[in-house]
Symmetry: C2
Subunit: 214 residues, 2 copies
């Protein structure tokens, strides 16, 4: 029984090590440039260890892309529209250091990766944001007639384009600033005035919570 | 004299053939995948013919990226905000068939290309849109306090992200529809109500003019 638990724990650790090595490799070299051999070398694992968890590089990339949300969402404490805002601000902040998010961006944007993934990466973010915005709508935060799913899709599109432009212009140094301008542009058209006035775009509260892991 | 004119005309044609071949190659294979040899083969030209016009692949890519605007702007007949709207709608329409625009998108979005170009491609579009929006501001079309340059930069970012999401989701089949939703979201926050009401998002007028080359 103890031996079985140890085996399971080791399997969990191996899977996590593979995901991290794959994320770092995809972030650095893109999907085409990151070979399975390089990923295994980085993780210090054998092919057998990998094929127990992932049948090929595509499966690894899919798993990396799917774990992006896990590096942001657990740190959020707010609700409704503020939670959607915080998701984008924390994503921008974590992009500086988090390989999983950086790999997700690169896999989503590069055409080779698109041929692999279709819109799964984008749709996952859209669903998450739509959920937060739906709560906002239930709380009366959104103006009448706003389509929550279309708004979420629009925000995901804008964040994608803003990230690319910001990376090209300033290596992402002004990404947060650009996202704040996006929300300043978007909120008056979709949120009720009282909510527009109280949405916190400073991020200070948010980054402090994420840093302490709360 | 006649011989000199013929030589000049041939040089103009050679340059155009090189740009077209390079655009097609970058669109199909990306910057890294498109070798100078492939581009020359496609254009039916020798290395000597190329080096007279472009010193290397980077110079070709820069020239392709810089000629994007020429495939859209000469077809526009509107003014002010409508002209900015039309730029994005015609860009979306021409992306279906125009290799120069498709190469521009790919060079702008792929990270290898970004390392080459920085934000030049995006900034060029921002400047063009900012010019149109500035005319709109002078005509009283924009709400007080709207920063024309920030708005232009925001539109370029959104178009970039919307194009990527649309390509991933539907191979760009719904790109125009997504751009129309973008303007419906953006216009009420930046344009005066009378202008919001009369902006034409249908594109019909525009596509007809572009098709007849007027």
């Amino acid at each position: 029984m103890v031996r079985e638990e140890l085996k399971q724990e080791r399997a969990v650790q191996t899977r996590a090590a593979l995901l991290m090595a794959a994320a770092e490799a995809f972030d650095e070299s893109g999907y085409a440039g990151a070979s399975v051999a390089k990923i295994l070398e980085r993780a210090g694992l054998t092919p057998g260890a990998m094929y127990f968890h992932f049948k090929n590089k595509e499966a690894l990339a899919t798993a990396v892309a799917a774990s992006q949300q896990q590096t942001v969402v657990p740190h959020l404490e707010s609700e409704g529209i503020q939670r959607a805002v915080d998701t984008t601000l924390l994503w921008a902040r974590q992009l500086r250091t988090d390989s999983v998010l950086r790999a997700g961006v690169r896999l989503g944007v590069e055409r080779d990766a698109l041929e692999l993934h279709d819109a799964t990466t984008f749709d996952a973010w859209t669903e998450i944001l739509a959920g937060f915005l739906r709560t906002g709508a239930e709380r009366g935060e959104l103006q009448a007639g706003v389509d929550v799913h279309e708004l979420a899709e629009y925000i995901v599109s804008c964040c994608t384009g803003i990230q690319i432009y910001s990376e090209a212009a300033t290596r992402r140094a002004d990404l947060t600033e650009r996202l704040v301008r996006m929300w300043q542009m978007v909120l008056p058209g979709v949120a009720v005035p009282a909510v527009v006035a109280r949405i916190d775009l400073s991020g200070a509260r948010l980054y402090a919570a994420a840093a302490t892991g709360s």
